[in-house]
């Protein structure tokens, strides 16, 4: 599936919730289910410190594709982190750099990407793209 197909799939999944409570319960569930972040990667240089919550992001290049693993200390943030990883992980640097993230807004969670939330998510997205740029430069 392409990045956009996965984004559409997520939007579809969230479209069943007409109540914010159900939507957030689902997000919490996704957050709780997120694993794969290795403790050895919980390093200061993988830490994106928001004022309100913390996000850890690790990236590895394997066979030309970038694999992201991430974590957060706040579960709602972790839920969104899980969705971002699902969309962006296992892609080539070019795919990531050319992508446009639209699903967060479409599922009604745009407020969490506002810089004023200071939860680390905006910086995380920036960091995902920076990794793509760096790996692309390395490959060239």
């Amino acid at each position: 599936m392409t990045i956009n197909e996965i984004q559409e799939e997520i939007v579809e999944e969230f479209s069943v919730f007409d109540d914010w409570m159900d939507k957030y319960s689902y997000l919490i569930e996704i957050g709780n289910d997120l694993d794969g972040f290795q403790e050895e990667n919980r390093l200061d240089n993988n830490l994106i410190e928001g004022c309100q919550s913390k996000v850890w992001l690790h990236a590895e290049l394997t066979d030309g594709k970038i694999f992201y693993t991430a974590d957060s200390d706040a579960i709602i943030v972790k839920g969104i982190v899980a969705l971002l990883v699902k969309v962006m992980s296992g892609r080539t640097p070019d795919e990531i750099l050319e992508s446009e993230l639209t699903f967060v807004e479409k599922i009604g969670l745009k407020e969490h990407l506002s810089p004023t939330r200071s939860n680390g998510l905006v910086a995380m997205i920036k960091q995902i793209r920076l990794y793509a740029l760096a790996f692309k430069a390395k490959q060239a």
Binding site: W20, M21, Y24, I28, Q52, A74, I75, I76
Partner: protein, 406 residues
């Protein structure tokens, strides 16, 4: 006298609104309080009736505006029971006031190796200005520790004070925990060794009557916006003997006597510390806020807030896995908590969806959070316009979120 809350609520137009379709319940008062019409109208009047730069014009409006500004100073003087109006300096708020003291007192009195004492529960505003002095002047910062209840350990203060101690700077009330510190005891202990004391009153003046003469503190600072006044205005009270000796903070208009390229002489108090056009509309708004509080009566406000605090505390305590931070015997109407290990950000985000505004995070007191080894807390702080019905909604919300996290 009992207070008529419904009448008071009508003074605050902002309260009458819905958030995500739910009526707003605002419990972030320790961050900033809302403004009554009396304050909004007073500021409005400055601009619609007599706006003019102060202390500079010979014309009518300038005189009216100057008078309003100086009347506001006298209002603050009486509010703090300061001996003289010229001992009241207008600042942008508590943070600027502390920076002014750190900068000017520091420049005049502090040398390498001198010590400043703060406490573990301070707001960053009463930590970072002194750390900047550590870098600039090589002074040393000492910290009064707290016990698990969030109370200052005064025995430690005795050991921290030395011949090198040049100032003690502590909060009157902790913003994150609500602890009311025994400032009179601290001031007496410090003065017994000729050490001056600065009190950060940002969380106090809206809850307790402050009398700087009875306290005998050397400096007392507070912000207007936390006592129902406008943002961008605050005040610094300082004993004349210190202020006269201290170097000016900033240079500019108003603070000078004569200026030539050979040298400049400075104006007298309080103008020496008020460079540039001051926030006279803010000062007028602050004066209106003080009038507002005085009219209801600080004792009445405090009594009502305590009632709200105790009501909320009892109900919150019944929630499984409730953890309170700050259980001092002497406490203002602030409750800091976590439920189990539910992250404060998660709790705050979900309460917000229910129209409930609380503060989450470290409350600009990271050393305090490190003391408790937590990422932050959820903080509900009460003001005179809050109601028990609103608290019921807070409790219901916290229970709902707790259940969501199982």
């Amino acid at each position: 006298m009992s207070i008529d809350i419904q009448k008071i609520r009508k003074d605050f137009p902002i309260l009458d609104q819905t958030v995500y379709g739910k009526p707003l319940a605002y419990f972030d008062n320790a961050a900033t309080a809302h403004k009554p019409l009396q304050v909004i109208n007073a500021i409005d009047e400055v601009y619609t009736k007599y706006n003019s730069n102060i202390h500079r014009g010979v014309h009518h409006l300038s005189n009216v505006c100057t008078q309003a500004f100086e009347d506001a100073r006298i209002k603050v003087q009486h509010f703090l029971n300061a001996p003289n109006a010229h001992e009241v300096i207008f600042t942008r708020g508590t943070t600027e006031a502390i920076n002014l003291i750190a900068s000017s007192f520091g420049e005049t009195f502090l040398n390498k190796g001198d010590e400043i004492i703060v406490s573990q529960l301070e707001h960053h505003s009463n930590i970072v200005p002194w750390q900047l002095l550590e870098k600039r002047k090589g002074i040393v910062l000492k910290v009064i520790p707290i016990n698990d209840a969030g109370e200052l350990m005064l025995d430690a203060l005795e050991e921290l004070m030395s011949d090198k101690t040049k100032l003690i700077s502590v909060a009157h009330i902790s913003n994150a925990l609500g602890t009311i510190n025994p400032i009179k005891t601290i001031i007496d202990k410090a003065h017994a060794r000729n050490i001056p004391v600065m009190i950060d009153g940002a969380q106090a003046v809206q809850h307790v009557k402050v009398d700087v003469q009875a306290l005998d503190c050397d400096f007392y600072v507070f912000s207007g916006h936390k006592i129902y006044g406008p943002t961008g205005i605050g005040a610094l009270y300082g004993k004349e003997k210190w202020l006269n000796q201290m170097e000016p903070y900033q240079g500019g208009g108003e603070m000078i006597q004569t200026v030539s390229f050979e040298g400049t002489t400075f104006n007298e108090l309080p103008f020496k510390f008020e460079a540039g056009t001051p926030d006279y509309s803010g000062a007028v708004g602050l004066a209106a806020a003080i009038d507002y509080v005085n009219e209801i009566g600080l004792e009445n406000i405090a009594a009502y807030e305590h009632e709200l605090h105790d009501y909320a505390l009892e109900k919150l305590a019944a929630i499984p896995n409730m953890r309170f931070f700050g259980t001092a015997k002497e406490k203002a109407s602030v409750i800091s908590f976590m439920v189990g290990n539910i992250h404060p950000f998660d709790m705050g985000t979900l309460l917000d969806k229910m129209g409930i505004a609380v503060r989450t995070g470290h409350h600009c007191a990271q050393p305090l959070m490190q003391r408790y080894n937590i990422p932050g807390t959820v903080r509900a702080s009460f003001a005179v316009y809050n109601t028990k019905e609103e608290i019921d909604r807070l409790i219901e919300g916290v229970i709902k979120v707790s259940q969501l996290f199982g």
